[in-house]
C-alpha cells in the first residue's frame, strides 16, 4: 500500500485510514527504538532539510533523531545562520535550497501558511513542523499516538483541551485530528484565549468552567500558557489563571479514575499543571508524548519519502 500524500501540511486532508497507517507504522518504529542499535537503512540516500526559521527544541531534535535513525542525510538550516535574517525572501531561500536536489523539507516558521507557500516553489515534499498560530500536524499525530497507546482506542473518547486555544497551532491540528478519529472535543479556556470560531476547528463544546468539564473527560490535554507581560495579557495573573484553569492535585477528585493527562511541553509548573499532576505515575503521559514524537515522525518521514508496506515487513 502506497501513501496518498506527498506533504503533511493540513491534517484535515488526511483520512482516518491515513492517520491509522502512520500510527501503526509508529508502533513498528517504537519497537526499533527499543533496540540497542536503533538505526535502519530505510531512507539511505534521501536528503531532508530541517528549515527552522523559528526557535524550537523538542520538535527540531526529534525530527533530527528520526531522520538519523532512518539513515537519511539531513541539513539543518535556520536560526542565526538563516539567510532570511540577511533579508533574503522566503521564496528565494526555498528555491536556493531546492537547487540542492532535496527530497523533503521540514519547516517551522512563525508565519501561518508558509509550508503551503513552499509547495509552490519546490518539488520536494513538505512537512509542517508548526506555522505561526495555524497548524502543527506532527504534534497532533504524536498526541494521537500517545492517547491511542494509553487508552487502546481513539474512537469515542472525550478529550478536553485546556488553555490558550486561540493562539495555539497545536490546537489548529489537534482538534481536527481528534474529530477525524471519532473523538468528542471540549475546549476549556477563558474567553480571552478562545479563537473567534472554535466550531470551525471542530470543537463540540466550549466552556470556561474546568471543574464542570473535568468529570466528563477521558483525556485532559493541558496547553502551555505563554508567560507574558501583564499589560495587555489575556489574564490578570498566573496565580489567577492557575486558580481557574490549572490542573492541580485539588482537582484530581473531579477526574475519571482512568483519565489521562497530556501536555505538549514545555511545562510551566505551578501554572497549568502542578508537579503532582505533571508527574502522576498513572495519569501523566507527558514523557510518552516526547518519545512518541520520534516514533511518529519516523513514520511520517517513512511514508512521505515513498515507503512501502513491503519495506516494513522486510
Amino acid at each position: 500500500m502506497a501513501f496518498a500524500h506527498k506533504h503533511l501540511i493540513d491534517i484535515a486532508e488526511y483520512s482516518a485510514d491515513d492517520i491509522m497507517q502512520i500510527l501503526e507504522t509508529a508502533v513498528i518504529f517504537k519497537e526499533v527504538n527499543e533496540r540497542k542499535i536503533k538505526k535502519l537503512p530505510t531512507l539511505k540516500g534521501l536528503t531532508v532539510v530541517n528549515m527552522f526559521n523559528e526557535p524550537s527544541t523538542r520538535t527540531r531534535s526529534s525530527f533530527e533523531l528520526a531522520e538519523k535513525r532512518l539513515s537519511c542525510d539531513s541539513l539543518n538550516f535556520g536560526g542565526s545562520s538563516s539567510s532570511t535574517v540577511k533579508g533574503e525572501s522566503l521564496v528565494d531561500t526555498i528555491e536556493t535550497l531546492s537547487s540542492y536536489k532535496i527530497d523533503l523539507v521540514v519547516v517551522r516558521d512563525k508565519h501561518a501558511g508558509v509550508p503551503e507557500k513552499l509547495t509552490h516553489h519546490t518539488n520536494a515534499g513538505i512537512i509542517d513542523a508548526g506555522d505561526g498560530k495555524h497548524q502543527h500536524p506532527t504534534q497532533a499525530l504524536l498526541d494521537l499516538f500517545s492517547i491511542w497507546q494509553s487508552k487502546g482506542t481513539l474512537d469515542g473518547l472525550h478529550v478536553g483541551i485546556v488553555g490558550d486555544i486561540g493562539h495555539s497551532r497545536v490546537c489548529g491540528s489537534l482538534i481536527p485530528a481528534l474529530k477525524i478519529m471519532g473523538c468528542e472535543v471540549t475546549v476549556i479556556a477563558p474567553a480571552t484565549l478562545l479563537p473567534a470560531r472554535p466550531d470551525i476547528l471542530g470543537a463540540d463544546h466550549v466552556t470556561s468552567n474546568l471543574d464542570e468539564a473535568l468529570p466528563e473527560l477521558d483525556v485532559v490535554y493541558m496547553l502551555r500558557i505563554q508567560r507574558e507581560r501583564l499589560e495587555g495579557a489575556p489574564y490578570p495573573s498566573l496565580r489567577e489563571y492557575n486558580m481557574f484553569f490549572g490542573l492541580t492535585r485539588e482537582r484530581e477528585h473531579l477526574m475519571r479514575p482512568d483519565a489521562i493527562i497530556c501536555h505538549p511541553g514545555p511545562i510551566n509548573r505551578g501554572v497549568e499543571l502542578d508537579s503532582y499532576m505533571a508527574d502522576h505515575p498513572q495519569r501523566s503521559v507527558i514523557l510518552d508524548q516526547v518519545y512518541a514524537g520520534i516514533c511518529t515522525r519516523m513514520a511520517v518521514l517513512y511514508w512521505l519519502l515513498g515507503g512501502s508496506e513491503h519495506g516494513l515487513t522486510a
Binding site: I9, D10, S89, L90, V91, D109, H111, A112, G113, V114, E116, K117, H120, D131, G132, K133, H134, Q135, R169, G172, P195, A196, R197, P198, I200, L201
Partner: protein, 430 residues
C-alpha cells in the same frame, strides 16, 4: 480641435439622457448634442453599439508617488486609470513624504500635469505625517487645490483629535474622508475575525474595529457639522449606521470597493493568496449582501477601488508579512458591468451616479454632464465585449488583483479627458 462622436448610446441621468445621439466637442467642451450632427473639420468617430457616459471618477486611489515608485507612480497609475475608463482620480496622501503641506500638493499637481493621463485631485493629510496628533496645514493645502482631507491607511485614533480635524476643516468647506480602524481592537489583525481568522490561524480584524469608528465619526459629524465620507465600508452594521445618519439628515456619505462587494473571506484558501489581503479585510457573504442592498437603496453613495498597487516581491511573501491592498482601476468598471448591470441589479443610470456623478459631488468638484457647456470628460463603453482579467495587460505597475482570471463582460474602449482621447479602441493614446 473639434470632435464628433456619432451614433452613441448616451446615458446621463443628470441631463435625462438615454438614447442614440451625436456629440460635438470643441476646445474640450461639449458644444452640441443631437441627431445627424456634422462638423466642418475635425475628427469624427462612429460609436455605433457603444455607450457614452460622463467620465468615471475614482475618488480613492494610491498613486504611490512620491516615495514608493516601485509600486506605482503618477504616470503608471494614471495610465491604469485611463485604461480602466477613468477620467479623474483622487489620490491619497500616504506617500513618503506624506502629502501634508502645500509643497506636497503642488508636487502632485505638477507631476500630474507633466505625465498624468487623467485628472488628478489631491487629498491632503489631516495630521502631520499621518501621526494622528498634530493638525496638518489644511488651509494652505486647500488653497493649493487639495479637494479633501484624510489620514487614509491608518485613521485617526484619538476622538479628540478627530474632532479637532473636523472642526478645523469646516472653515475650508472640505470633506473629511475617514478610514475607520480602531487600532486597539484591530491590532495586528490580518483577516476578518471569525471563520477566516480561525481557519487560517491568523489574528482577526473584527468588524467592530471598523464599526466603532464609523459610529464615533458620525457622532463627531453631528457635533461639528463637517461633511464626513466613510471610506471602503465593509460591514453590514457599519452601513446601517450610515443609513441612520443619512435619515437623520447628517452630511454623511460612504463608498464601497468592488472587492468588498464581490469577494469575501471564503476566497482566502489554504494557499494564503496575498492579493486577497486588504484593509479592511474581506468580510462575509452576509456583508456582501448588505453592501449590495446599500447600493440599490442609495445608502452607498459611490464605488471606488482603493487602488493599492504593490511590487510583486512585496506581495510574494508570507501572508502576515505582505502589505495590505489590491489594484482595482483596470477591473472596476468591468466588474460592475458584469456583476451589477448585466445581471439587471442596477441600470446604467445608477452606474453613472455611483462612479461619475456622486464622487464629484462628494469632493465638491464641478459636475460633468453630456450637455452643451460641460467639460468633455467622457467614458465610452463596449457593453458586449467579453474579456479575461490578465495581470500582464495592466498598465499599473501592480499586478496584485484578487480578480485575475475573472471572466468579464463589458469594458471601456475610449476615454476622453477635456476632449482629448487618453484611450482609443482599448489602447492608450501615447
Amino acid at each position: 480641435m473639434a470632435l464628433l462622436l456619432k451614433n452613441a448610446h448616451v446615458i446621463d441621468p443628470q441631463a435625462g439622457l438615454d438614447g442614440i445621439m451625436d456629440i460635438v466637442v470643441r476646445d474640450g467642451v461639449v458644444v452640441e448634442t443631437g441627431t445627424a450632427l456634422s462638423i466642418p473639420k475635425g475628427e469624427i468617430r462612429d460609436l455605433t453599439g457603444k455607450i457614452v457616459i460622463p467620465g468615471l471618477v475614482d475618488m480613492h486611489v494610491h498613486l504611490r508617488e512620491p516615495g514608493f515608485e516601485q509600486k506605482e507612480d503618477i504616470a503608471s497609475g494614471t495610465r491604469a486609470a485611463a485604461h480602466g475608463g477613468f477620467t479623474a482620480v483622487c489620490c491619497m496622501p500616504n506617500t513618503d513624504p506624506v502629502i501634508d503641506d502645500a509643497n506636497g500638493v503642488e508636487f502632485i499637481n505638477r507631476r500630474a500635469s507633466q505625465v498624468g493621463r487623467c485628472r488628478v485631485y489631491v487629498a491632503g493629510a489631516c495630521s502631520k505625517g499621518l501621526g494622528g496628533d498634530t493638525l496638518a496645514e489644511m488651509g494652505d493645502m486647500a488653497a493649493h487645490g487639495a479637494v479633501a482631507f484624510t489620514d487614509d491607511g491608518r485613521g485617526i485614533q484619538d476622538a479628540g483629535m478627530m474632532r479637532r480635524v473636523m472642526d478645523y476643516a469646516h472653515m475650508f468647506g472640505k470633506v473629511i474622508l475617514s478610514h475607520c480602524q480602531d487600532e486597539s481592537l484591530v491590532g495586528e489583525g490580518q483577516v476578518n475575525e471569525g471563520v477566516a481568522s480561525t481557519r487560517l490561524g491568523m489574528l482577526g480584524w473584527p468588524a467592530e474595529g471598523e464599526e466603532l469608528q464609523i459610529d464615533r465619526d458620525i457622532a463627531l459629524c453631528r457635533l461639528t457639522g463637517t461633511p464626513l465620507h466613510i471610506q471602503h465600508i465593509s460591514t453590514r452594521r457599519g452601513l446601517d449606521s450610515v443609513r441612520a445618519a443619512k435619515r437623520e439628515g447628517l452630511p454623511v456619505t460612504c463608498e464601497v470597493t468592488p472587492h468588498h462587494l464581490f469577494l469575501n473571506e471564503d476566497a482566502i484558501g489554504s494557499d494564503y493568496r496575498t492579493s486577497l489581503k486588504v484593509n479592511p479585510p474581506l468580510r462575509t457573504q452576509d456583508d456582501n449582501d448588505a453592501l449590495l442592498a446599500g447600493i440599490i437603496d442609495g445608502t452607498v453613495d459611490c464605488l471606488v477601488t482603493d487602488h493599492a498597487p504593490h511590487a510583486d516581491w512585496e506581495k510574494d511573501q508570507e501572508f502576515e508579512l505582505a502589505p495590505f491592498g489590491m489594484v482595482g482601476l483596470e477591473t472596476s468598471l468591468g466588474l460592475v458591468l458584469t456583476q451589477l448591470v448585466d445581471t439587471g441589479l442596477i441600470e446604467y443610470g445608477k452606474l453613472v451616479e455611483l462612479m461619475s456623478v456622486a464622487p464629484r459631488r462628494i469632493l465638491g468638484l464641478d459636475p460633468v454632464s453630456i450637455v452643451p457647456g460641460s467639460v468633455a470628460d467622457l467614458t465610452v463603453i463596449d457593453p458586449e465585449t467579453s474579456w479575461t482579467v490578465t495581470a500582464k495587460d495592466f498598465c499599473s505597475k501592480g499586478s496584485n488583483s484578487g480578480f485575475v482570471g475573472a471572466q468579464l463582460k463589458g469594458r471601456a474602449t475610449d476615454t476622453y479627458v477635456g476632449g482629448y482621447a487618453t484611450m482609443q479602441d482599448g489602447a492608450l493614446v501615447e
